[in-house]
């Protein structure tokens, strides 16, 4: 059976065998091992020779043909009976196909039972996975659980089980800050930096301060006036700041006086001043209305 299949395959291949072998070599379609190709070719030829021999026997000139070399036989037999050979191989193929046990029957034999087993296994697995997933979700969502605390940032997951709580992270003794033994380099966040000492001395600081005090003469403005206001007589003009009328956020006008604002800031308890004032005004108005309505009838 196997040989018959071989014949069929090689027969289809053997159709371009008449083309010179050099041409076949260059074809990308037939890029298989050349040695294998030659081997199969020879085998096919032998086969064909045998077939041809059988034909010659039937024709009656078997004695001569027996002694002839294979190649000649092949040429002859190919010339004579290529359609016959094709037919034969096709029938052989059909036979071989027939002789194989039908695959559908093999499946059908136990299909009912195994399908049920497979389906139930799949179903069980699915149910198991869904249940475990739901359990995990519900465990995570449970309020007050450790996972919940960690998620909300109440508990540090990296410090669980450590009895003394770390109240603060020392930025200098961080694992990401490493100073070399010679104190000349420091490694921060995986990068190594060279360290240089600060050279600023007290004298230099004093020199800079003196320079600045000479360069910038400034008095803090204590009086803010709107443009157009008159300057009060006993005021140093350096301490006046002129605020333009259309200044985006600063205004010199204020609805409340300074003392009241101060008491508002210092107020610790109770109703804020303005809320109370508005409330009282409303109440007074209401009382007035009520008195009017009482008097009128």
């Amino acid at each position: 059976m196997a040989t018959s299949i071989w014949t069929l395959q090689l027969h289809t291949v053997s159709v371009p065998l008449r083309i010179p072998s050099k041409a076949v070599d260059f074809r990308t379609k037939y890029l298989f091992d050349y040695a294998f190709w030659r081997y199969t070719r020879k085998r096919t030829f032998k086969k064909l020779g045998v077939v041809a021999l059988g034909d010659s026997f039937t024709n009656g000139d078997g004695k001569n043909s027996k002694n002839l070399p294979d190649e000649v036989m092949v040429v002859k037999s190919e010339k004579r009976s290529l359609p016959v050979l094709l037919q034969q191989t096709v029938t052989k193929l059909q036979e071989s196909v027939k002789s194989l046990p039908p695959a559908t029957l093999l499946v059908k034999k136990h299909s009912g039972v195994s399908l049920a087993i497979g389906l139930s296994t799949m179903l069980t697995l699915l149910v198991f996975m869904v249940r475990s997933y739901l359990a995990k979700r519900s465990r995570r969502n449970r309020p007050g659980s450790v996972a919940d605390l960690v998620r909300r940032g109440q508990l540090k997951s990296d410090r669980r089980g450590i009895s003394n709580p770390l109240k603060y992270d020392d930025p200098f003794n961080n694992p990401l800050v490493k100073v070399s033994k010679s104190n000349s380099t420091v490694e921060m966040c995986g990068k190594v930096y060279r360290l240089a000492p600060v050279t600023l001395t007290k004298e230099q600081q004093a020199v800079h301060q003196k320079r600045r005090s000479r360069a910038y003469q400034w008095k803090r403005p204590t009086l803010f006036l709107r443009e157009g206001d008159s300057v009060p007589p006993d005021v140093d003009p350096d301490t006046i700041r002129w605020i333009p009328a259309n200044h985006p956020f600063a205004t010199t006008a204020s609805e409340i006086d300074e003392d009241l604002a101060q008491t508002n800031v210092y107020q610790k308890h109770g109703v804020p001043f303005r809320i109370q004032a508005e409330h009282e005004a409303l109440q007074r108005k209401l009382e007035a209305l009520q008195s009017v309505s009482n008097h009128s009838p």
């Binding site: 930025p171 800050v177 490493k178 190594v192 060279r194 020199v207 210092y266």
Partner: protein, 334 residues
């Protein structure tokens, strides 16, 4: 970015040999925690300690509370608000109570950086007008409950500048007199420029943090602002150099931190490297110092906050990036 001191230093309580303003431990306020001696590593105890600073130590608060710190710069866009948000939250994480006042009257942004923009209902202008009390205007951060935000005004309302500066002094007094106790730090986010807003913002401050970037425009403004602050009587000024790029310094395209210091003559509070995480955290409304794992800039902000608490300044600065020394077998993997 680091200030270092060898382990063999005879005065271990002040880790980094500090500036003259450091108060000795005896005169510290009652809030200061004593360092537990058990945590103090010595050379014998940890022979191969890499980090020379103490483990799990709380910074020691120097100076009188409340420490009113104004965070200013002449130029806009150098990172005043980012610095205020990050330093403020770092201080809160270190256990100090902090009130951050956004004095940027016209263009306030601190609430956005902290992610508290939806919770600002009342501002100082309403408090002055008597529409609400001061405790109603303070917005408490839910992440760190010892951090509170106070905005001066809503973007559309106008601040009566006639007593703007005085109003801030009253605010500080009112915060001192609160039932919860005196806050440790009052951080004032100053507006850009030297306009009326700047004058208002610096009024109650005792010390200043000058934020600058290593470029000449920012440096000129910083120098002028420092002059104005000194004229106003604020002597304790420290500078913070922001957006430093070590790769550009190495190529001599950017001034180094030491050059900046030479030009301004101010002690260094911190050096913040340029970091893309800053923009990301700003957009998220989640300050950089809360990032896990910490970013490079976040670490630098935390260290600056630590120095601010101890009234310390940097002794050593990171100048350039060195190629990391790789081991012989490093080509096998990372």
């Amino acid at each position: 970015m680091l200030s270092l001191q060898p382990l063999s230093n005879p005065k271990p309580s002040s880790l980094y040999s500090s500036s003259s303003s450091f108060t000795p431990p005896n005169s510290l306020s009652s809030k200061t925690l004593k360092t537990p001696p058990a945590f103090r590593p010595s050379r014998n105890f940890y022979p191969s300690v890499h980090s020379i600073l103490q483990y799990n130590r709380k910074p020691q608060l120097a100076g009188d509370t409340p420490r009113v710190v104004v965070i200013t710069s002449g130029k806009g866009g150098v990172g005043k608000t980012t610095t205020t948000a990050n330093i403020g939250l770092s201080l809160a994480r270190l256990g100090f109570s902090v009130v951050a006042i956004d004095c940027d009257v016209g263009l306030r942004n601190l609430d956005l950086l902290l992610g508290l923009e939806n919770r600002v209902n009342y501002t100082v202008v309403e408090v002055l007008n008597g529409d609400c009390r001061l405790d109603q205007a303070l917005v408490r951060d839910k992440r760190w409950s010892n951090f509170e935000l106070l905005c001066i005004s809503k973007p559309r309302s106008k601040l009566p500048i006639g007593f703007g500066g005085k109003a801030l002094v009253w605010l500080v007094d009112a915060l001192k007199a609160r039932d919860e106790g005196v806050p440790d730090f009052i951080l004032i986010d100053c507006p850009a420029g030297i306009d009326a807003g700047f004058i208002t913002a610096i009024t109650p401050a005792n010390e200043a943090v000058l934020v600058t970037t290593p470029d000449i425009t920012s440096l000129r403004d910083a120098d002028r602002v420092t002059g104005l602050l000194e004229c106003d009587g604020i002597r304790d000024i420290k500078m913070m150099v922001n957006r430093v790029r070590t790769d550009m310094i190495k190529g001599e395209d950017m001034m180094s931190v030491l050059d900046v210091q030479e030009m301004l003559g101010l002690p260094l509070l911190g050096v913040i490297p340029e970091d893309s995480e800053v923009i990301r955290s700003t957009n998220r409304g989640y300050p950089l110092v809360l990032n896990k794992p910490p970013a490079l800039a976040g670490l630098a902000f935390e260290q600056a906050a630590w120095r601010l608490v101890e009234q310390d300044s940097m002794e050593t600065v990171m100048v350039e990036e060195e190629p990391k020394k790789r081991g012989f077998f490093s080509f096998f993997g990372r």
